[in-house]
Amino acid sequence: MDMEPILNVKQLTMNFGGLRALDNVDLDVHQGEIVALIGPNGAGKTTFFNCITGIYDPSGGDVLISAPKKGKTQRINGLKPNRVTEKGLARTFQNIRLFHNMTVLENVMIGCHCRMKAGILGAVFRGVSTRREEKAVVQKSYSILEKIGLEKYVNDFAKNLPYGAQRRLEIARAMATDPFMLLLDEPAAGMNPHETQDLDALIIRIRENEGISILLIEHDMKLVMSLSDRIFVMDYGKKIAQGTPAEIRKNPAVIKAYLGEEIDA
């Protein structure tokens, strides 16, 4: 842990009117880690994601990133979502938000948007560089689909995909933005055990092969316990525990927060 964390969240606070949805939450992720954020429903996990990715502007605290290769630490509070994505944090959504009337390939190509250059003139005149760029993007998008295992759907409309495939397409789309870190919001929700197992392998592959670190929100405890290097637990907008899966399993505060809720671990 001598390296600086690539994502370092300090005392993050978010108020909605009188309601404090996040209360001084700290969290850090190091290069190459898979970190899980868990907690009962309504604990503020998605709000936490929204604050990091620029959808909400946090009321207090710092969100610092330090991209693995560039090394410089930057504060990204209050940046627009697209700027956050440009900086290398990409996310998926809990309630799937694909571009339903676009093909699977186009969905991934949208992810490449911020790494492309063609402007209005390029689009109209379609010069050599524009054509080369378009071709490269199609190739890149296809190869991402291959990695995620969605290549057989490449020309289908996103809305026609089976549920599990839609969840994976969200991951593919996020990967197309060339992130150093992926934020996955309940990637296994609604998946059957078999699909969840595939997802487990996929997330490991993304880390091993692409070198992308992962922060995920998940309710499937089996998946969380097997995947994560470290786990953060939230309840009522506060961080109540952090540690390795083994530590979290035994943590009394966590057991109390989940009391009444089943832990299948």
């Binding site: 627009k80 093909t103 209005i120 109209v124 933005t177």
Partner: protein, 410 residues
């Protein structure tokens, strides 16, 4: 056996239609049947109308229920199969055996038109082409980016007044102002775009409508600037290398100019929609939040749609001023915006061929069916509602060229 099932159904349908017919007879009674002349104190009872409403609503209500049922079955079918239906128009447009002859015939027709038909007809055709251009421009904003702009006519006015005023004060010629008019309209597009960037679809519609009206009211009231309601006359027609053209030649010249500009518009819009920017517009229409989270700059993308859409309206405005040689604020009311919206909606939002078909239907039909012309706006209203309910994709549903991945690309 089937008769036993069918009879009650038929009786049921008849009953429903009968009730609908009674309801509409009640509903339309005061307005359709009674007409009072308050000056001469005469009441006119038009009982025949009640009869027509009764018969008409009886039939239409049956038709309505049939169409709704068919639509629901259609949705059900696609849900079960997972395959979207391919419509006739989509199949035709995808088939070279149809598209190539159609293209050749259209080209020949377009080339010989002004020589075969009268000046009057050619003028109507020019109007239709102006609407094609306006429609294609609005299509960028509404069809691709999904931003409902009801003030589109304002940019058309900016173009027309640019030419009229710049020519009046500085004697600038058509070609010079064509560029300036387009540029000014784009600038206005951005000016309008800024405040409405954060607005959701429905607020956007009202604000743009307001913007259109503001521009019109300014043109109407600021006499020193725009010559008020009386407008500007004697705007020169476009010149051709300094040759003097008579009215007939000038009309033919404007016609070919419009053909060229329409082709240019089609070319540019087509290129745009199959580009990185076009994809971003469509993504923005589909889901704004996801779009931003995928690294697309919402502000820039929206402003670009507004500005590009406005540019075409500006061009069309300059041509309009040059064609009619007279403009006043009455040509730029909110209804003009709604006409263009009708063109886009009827033809098919997001479809270039659709917009062209829509413009020709909506502009040419009322011109040639004169006896229907007083029902024109009534029909437009009906078209908007019916299209949205039964065929939201328009006559020519989008055949957007999706990006297909082919193995040969490896």
């Amino acid at each position: 056996m089937w008769i036993e099932i069918e009879t009650p159904m038929l009786a049921n349908e008849l009953k429903k239609s009968f009730l609908a017919s009674l309801w509409f007879m009640f509903l339309t009674f005061p307005i359709m049947v009674i007409r009072v002349n308050t000056v001469e104190k005469i009441i006119q009872w038009r009982w025949a109308n009640l009869f027509f409403v009764g018969i008409g609503s009886f039939i239409l209500s049956a038709l309505w229920r049939y169409l709704i049922r068919r639509k629901e079955q259609g949705i059900h079918r696609t849900e079960v199969d997972g395959i979207a239906r391919v419509t006739l128009s989509q199949r035709l447009l995808g088939d070279r055996r149809f598209t190539i002859p159609a293209l050749i015939i259209t080209t020949i027709a377009a080339l010989v038109f002004p020589f075969v038909f009268s000046i009057y007809q050619t003028n109507i055709m020019i109007t239709a082409l102006i609407y094609v251009m306006l429609g294609l421009g609005l299509n960028i904003v509404v069809g691709l980016a999904g931003l409902l702009d009801l003030g589109y006519v304002a940019f058309y006015a900016v173009g027309a007044y640019s030419y009229a005023l710049l020519n009046y004060h500085f004697g600038l010629g058509f070609w010079t102002v064509l560029g300036i008019g387009g540029g000014l309209a784009a600038m206005f597009g951005i000016i309008l775009g800024f405040p409405v960037l954060r607005l959701r679809g429905d607020y956007l519609a009202i604000v743009t409508l307001g913007f259109g009206e503001i521009i019109r009211l300014i043109l109407e009231n600021w006499n020193a600037f725009s010559f008020g309601p009386s407008g500007i006359a004697n705007i020169p027609r476009p010149g051709l290398f300094g040759i003097d053209l008579d009215i007939e030649q000038a009309t033919i010249y404007v016609y070919f100019l419009m053909i060229a500009m329409t082709l240019f518009t089609i070319f540019v819009v087509n290129r745009l929609q199959n580009s990185r920017i076009g994809r971003a517009w469509i993504a923005l229409r589909e889901d704004e939040v996801a779009c931003q989270s995928m690294g697309i700059d919402k502000r820039k993308t929206k402003l670009m749609a507004f500005a590009l859409g406005a540019t075409w309206a500006g061009f069309a405005g300059v041509v309009f001023a040059a064609k009619t040689t007279f403009i006043n604020p009455a040509s730029f009311t909110i209804w003009e915006s709604i006409n263009v919206l009708c063109v886009v909606v009827l033809g098919g939002m997001g479809s270039i061929v659709g917009v062209i078909v829509g413009a020709f239907i909506l502009i040419l039909l009322p011109e040639y069916l004169r006896f229907l012309s007083e029902y024109r706006m009534l029909a437009f209203g009906t078209v908007l509602v019916m299209m949205m309910v039964f065929r939201p994709g328009g006559i020519v549903e989008t055949v957007r060229r999706t990006y297909q991945y082919k193995e040969t690309d490896h």
